[in-house]
């Protein structure tokens, strides 16, 4: 009896330790110091609530009865985890972006936030989980029993019952304390998660310790152990293929659909990245957990008297060999497995029950709807707490009623098959946009009816809930409806039979009903959101806020998420909208955000309904959809406008840069010209002054000298006049005050005159000019003097600047698109590209200043040609400097 007291003491200490750890974790998270709480390791360990007492005790019993079949229960989830990229990644992303609080919330959200569906899923989840909770209570009670009988203290039926009740009450208390401390918008429970993680380590260590003790303590190491396994009654592979495949599928499906797994995997997920680690670490955990199961089973079968319950070999083997400490550790492991499962399952179920059943009922009972004042948070918390207690009590009730007789494994499998009915709806919902609410409803109903009829009811035994006659002959004599042999197909394993038909008919009816029906707009929007979650992670579904009273919303939000949080949220929103004060405009955007915040506390469907009550119109109208579409169109239009605008800006910038370059160059030219002009003016002025002083002051000058000096003065004065004439000419031309003296004449004559004038005085250096006189036989009607001035200038330039050793000039006359063109091409090195842009500017002079000139010639030419309606431009690529004079069509035509 002393050991038993120690056991109770250890249990209490352990529970106190868990409370402490959970409390510390909550504190750390609250103070923002809990970064270690959000590690991939904790996430992986929290997933281990998959391994319940069923794993800890039941797996050994399962192995002792059916050999390696127990492995299927861990192979299925391993495959699901390793295939995380297919499914879990998407599920977690959806859960995070939609603020999903439970699997019922997920399914109801996906199918148009239907509360009916949420209620259905919740009820089914409770039905599916209750036996499982009972199983945990049963295992804890029996393990107590095993301990006490080992020490000769037989427990009476009543103490057994009160034990279970005590355990149930303790678990409910823990869940209430740490599961409903606050209404977290993200529905995360650090305390619970950390406690679960610690328990995961405890159960792993306990099972490993027993396993190592068995293999190296009782058997003689690995080789001996393998030989013992082969020699035992489960020594040969006797697995039925259909059971093997079905159970792997079933456990994988249950892993995804169990409410408690959904809770830790999706809802409590802190970071999508954790999934990446868990994808291999969790299969590793499962592998280690199942490693020693067969050795323990085999040694237990060997060691213990025939007829002892193999489900508790993990406890009885150490006890039988007098290893009390190990047995104690093993007991704690089993205790951990059971408690962590019950805690999380109760938490997950209570969220569902409270959000989808209690709150909607409470809301509809309130006459004033959602906008009556008063804090509703206590109502939510209270409903959660009652739900937790209710769920755990249901489990206890089932345990008392079923009498705790069945093997652990079979209860677990029935429960698995029940929740696996969610799978088609879940997978269809996140991969197929065509899945509808009607389809989901029909599929789930069909699946659960078949599950209940073919598996659950017969499991209580023939003659209890299903009569013997029904089992063997079918209901009312319909042979093809026999619960364990549909359509007369006999010989199937009952479990395989039930899983096969329920899954098949569930999927088929879901599919067909989805095809036939037509989804509501909200369903279609949510469907697109879920299926394409990776393309866009925000909800498009929108509230029309024109009728909403922000104040009412504020009142409601305060009641659900608390006064301060609500005020902060509204203030933030108002600031975002650029308004002062506390109340933002009820824009669809804001309503949507608010709904999501509320969804974290009360579930999507309830939040939608509550806002719907205030805003008016609980469903999305065509106008809303139009508004969304409009908004999108506007956004697209706006962005394309922006794009066009930025293109335009780039073009303008380019033009500005070019203009700026030109301006800089011109300014430089002007500076250099000014100094040039001053120089040009000063040189003749200096000589004029000097020579006029000589003339004035010297009396003994010869006549020759006088003539020479005065002609120098004259020449210099002429040069000055010419320069000033040029400047004057240019300014007249530029200001447009020039009057043209229109005459008719032949081009040939003008060119003759121009060549003669330009080359006068060149003497021996006179450059040869090549011309084609036939082409020049064109009569022009224009200001011939001005035109001739241009020609003279161009020919003179060629004479002055051509740097070839034997300079030559070619004058070509032709037509280019109707206009008359006269090209002057020399054989020099031409004008570099950088300077081509500026040679026509005033005062521009190219390259080395070999020849003196003011740099006005080409500028004047350009001005003249502009006046004459033509143009002069540089012609690149002619093997020398080339200028093209273009005369407008009418100049030439008019004369012909």
């Amino acid at each position: 009896m002393g050991t038993l007291n120690i056991l109770v003491g250890v249990c209490l200490v352990y529970v106190a330790f868990l409370f402490l750890i959970a409390f510390a974790a909550e504190r750390a998270a609250l103070e923002g110091k809990g970064s270690w709480l959000r590690s991939p390791l904790i996430y992986t360990l929290s997933l281990s609530i998959y391994c319940t007492a069923w794993t800890f005790y039941g797996a050994v019993g399962y192995a002792a009865r059916s050999g390696l079949e127990y492995l299927t229960i861990y192979i299925g989830p391993s495959l699901v985890m390793i295939g995380w990229w297919w499914l879990l990644r998407k599920l977690v992303r959806i859960g995070r972006s939609q603020r999903i609080t439970s699997i019922a919330d997920l399914i109801s959200s996906r199918y148009g936030k239907s509360n009916l569906l949420a209620v259905g899923v919740t009820v089914l989840a409770v039905i599916g989980t209750t036996p499982y909770i009972a199983l945990q209570l049963q295992s804890v009670t029996i393990s107590f029993d095993v301990f006490s009988s080992a020490y000769g203290a037989e427990l009476t039926e009543s103490t057994r019952g009160s034990n279970a009740l005590l355990v149930a009450a303790g678990l409910a208390l823990f869940t209430i304390v740490f599961g409903t401390r606050n209404l977290d918008v993200n529905e995360r429970h650090h305390g619970v998660v950390i406690a679960v993680a610690v328990e995961a380590i405890v159960k792993l260590l306990a099972l490993l310790a027993v396993g190592i003790f068995v293999v190296w303590g009782l058997a003689g190491g690995v080789g001996d152990m393998l030989a013992r396994i082969d020699a035992s009654e489960i020594g040969l592979w006797q697995m039925r293929g259909d059971r093997w495949a079905t159970l792997i599928f079933l456990s994988g499906a249950a892993f995804l659909c169990l409410p408690r797994m959904f809770q830790v995997m999706v809802v409590e997920n802190e970071d999508e990245d954790h999934l990446r680690t868990a994808s291999w670490a969790f299969p590793a955990y499962l592998m280690v957990m199942s490693l020693f199961v067969v050795p323990i089973a085999v040694v237990g079968l060997d060691l213990l008297p025939a007829g002892s319950n193999p489900d508790f070999f993990v406890l009885t083997v150490p006890l039988a060999t007098g290893n009390d400490a190990l047995a104690m550790l093993s007991f704690l492991g089993g205790f951990s497995s059971a408690t962590s499962m019950v805690i999380v399952a109760a938490l997950a179920l209570s969220t569902m029950v409270s959000n989808h059943i209690v709150m909607p009922i409470w809301l509809s009972l309130q006459s004033g709807g959602a906008s009556v004042s008063g804090d509703v948070r206590h109502v939510v918390l209270l409903s959660r707490r009652i739900s937790i207690a209710g769920v755990v009590f249901l489990g206890y009730l089932y345990f008392r009623l079923s009498g705790g007789g069945s093997a652990l494994a079979s209860i677990g499998l029935i429960s698995f098959a029940g929740v696996a009915q969610f799978l088609p709806v879940l997978i269809g919902g996140i991969f197929w946009r065509g899945a509808t609410r009607t389809g989901a409803f029909v599929g789930l109903t069909v699946g659960f009816l078949i599950w209940a009829y073919a598996l659950l009811l017969p499991s209580f035994g023939a003659g209890i809930l299903v009569s013997e006659a029904t089992l063997s002959n079918g209901p009312f004599g319909f042979g093809w409806l026999r619960p364990q042999a549909f359509f007369g197909i006999t010989g199937m394993d009952p479990l395989v039979h039930a899983v096969f038909w329920s899954t098949l008919l569930n999927t088929m009816s879901f599919f067909i009903a989805s095809l036939i029906g037509f989804p509501s707009p909200l369903e279609r929007l949510q469907g697109a959101q879920f299926v394409n979650v990776f393309e866009h992670s925000s909800t498009p579904q929108s509230w029309s806020g024109s009728l909403a009273q922000t104040e009412d919303l504020m009142v409601m939000a305060q009641r659900i998420i608390g006064a301060r949080e609500a005020q902060n949220l509204f203030e933030r929103e108002a600031k975002r909208q650029g308004m002062s004060g506390l109340l933002p405009e009820p824009s669809p955007d804001f309503l949507q955000r608010l709904e999501r915040e509320l969804a974290g506390s009360v579930g999507a469907a309830t939040a939608h309904a509550m806002i719907g009550q205030i805003v008016g119109g609980a469903s999305v109208s065509v106008e809303d959809l139009m508004a969304v579409a409009d908004e999108t169109a506007q956004m697209m239009e706006y962005s394309s406008k922006l794009e066009a605008k930025s293109d335009e800006q780039a073009r303008t910038a380019r033009q500005l840069r070019q203009a700026n370059e030109k301006l800089t160059q011109i300014s430089e030219q002007k500076d250099s010209f000014l100094s040039q002009v001053s120089h040009e003016l000063r040189t003749p002025m200096t000589s004029i002054r000097a020579f006029s002083e000589i003339l004035r002051d010297s009396d003994r000058l010869s006549e020759d000298e006088k003539t020479k000096y005065s002609s120098i003065i004259h020449d210099e004065a002429l040069r000055l006049t010419r320069l000033l004439d040029d400047l004057l000419d240019l300014s007249v031309l530029e200001s447009g005050r020039v009057s043209l003296n229109l005459q008719s004449g032949s081009l040939q004559g003008i060119l003759d005159h121009a060549v003669a004038s330009a080359l006068t005085g060149a003497g021996a250096a006179k450059m040869p000019v090549a011309r084609n006189r036939q082409h020049e036989a064109v009569t022009l009607h224009t200001d011939l003097d001005r035109l001739s001035q241009v020609f003279i200038n161009l020919i003179g330039n060629a004479q002055k600047y051509c740097d070839a050793t034997t300079p030559r000039l070619r004058i070509e006359v032709g037509r280019s698109s109707g206009a008359l063109v006269v090209d002057f091409i020399d054989n020099g090195s031409g004008i570099p590209k950088t300077e081509q842009a500026v040679i026509f500017e005033k005062f521009s002079r190219t390259g080395e200043q070999k020849v003196k000139g003011a740099g006005l010639g080409l500028a004047i030419c350009r001005e003249i040609m502009t006046r004459l309606g033509g143009a002069v431009e540089y012609l690149p690529g002619q093997g020398g400097a080339a200028f093209r004079v273009t005369l407008p069509e009418q100049v030439a035509l008019a004369a012909q």
Binding site: G67, L68, L71, I75, S78, L79, V80, M81, I82, G83, W84, W85, W86, L226, A227, I229, D230, S232, I234, G235, L236, W237, Q238, M239, R240, G241, W244, A245, I248, D273, R276, T277, S279, W280, A281, P283, A284, M287, L291, V294
Partner: protein, 89 residues
């Protein structure tokens, strides 16, 4: 020289990443096939020809292989993700 080699290098990176994800997608299929092998083992009324110890060794080897491969792939993917982010894409 380096500039010329840079562009195909980037493409090769994202190509590798795609194939890496393909491998991750394929891994559960490989696992399912390997774990389906027991369906082929002969089974008679009194048990089959395969001993339980052989079956245990085979099944756990598959398990270990999947865990190691999964861990390696997850790590490689994370590294490749980090490189992608570094490159600002």
């Amino acid at each position: 020289m380096t500039a010329k080699h840079n562009i195909p290098f980037l493409e090769r990176q994202s190509y590798r990443r795609r194939r890496l994800i393909d491998t991750i997608r394929m891994l559960p299929v490989i696992g399912a096939v390997l774990w389906a092998v027991p369906l082929l083992w002969r089974r008679t009324q009194n048990g089959g020809e395969v001993t339980t110890s052989d079956a245990i060794i085979y099944l756990f080897c598959v398990w270990l292989l999947l865990v190691v491969a999964g861990g390696w792939l997850a790590r490689t993917l994370k590294r490749s993700d980090a490189e992608e982010t570094e490159r600002g894409r």
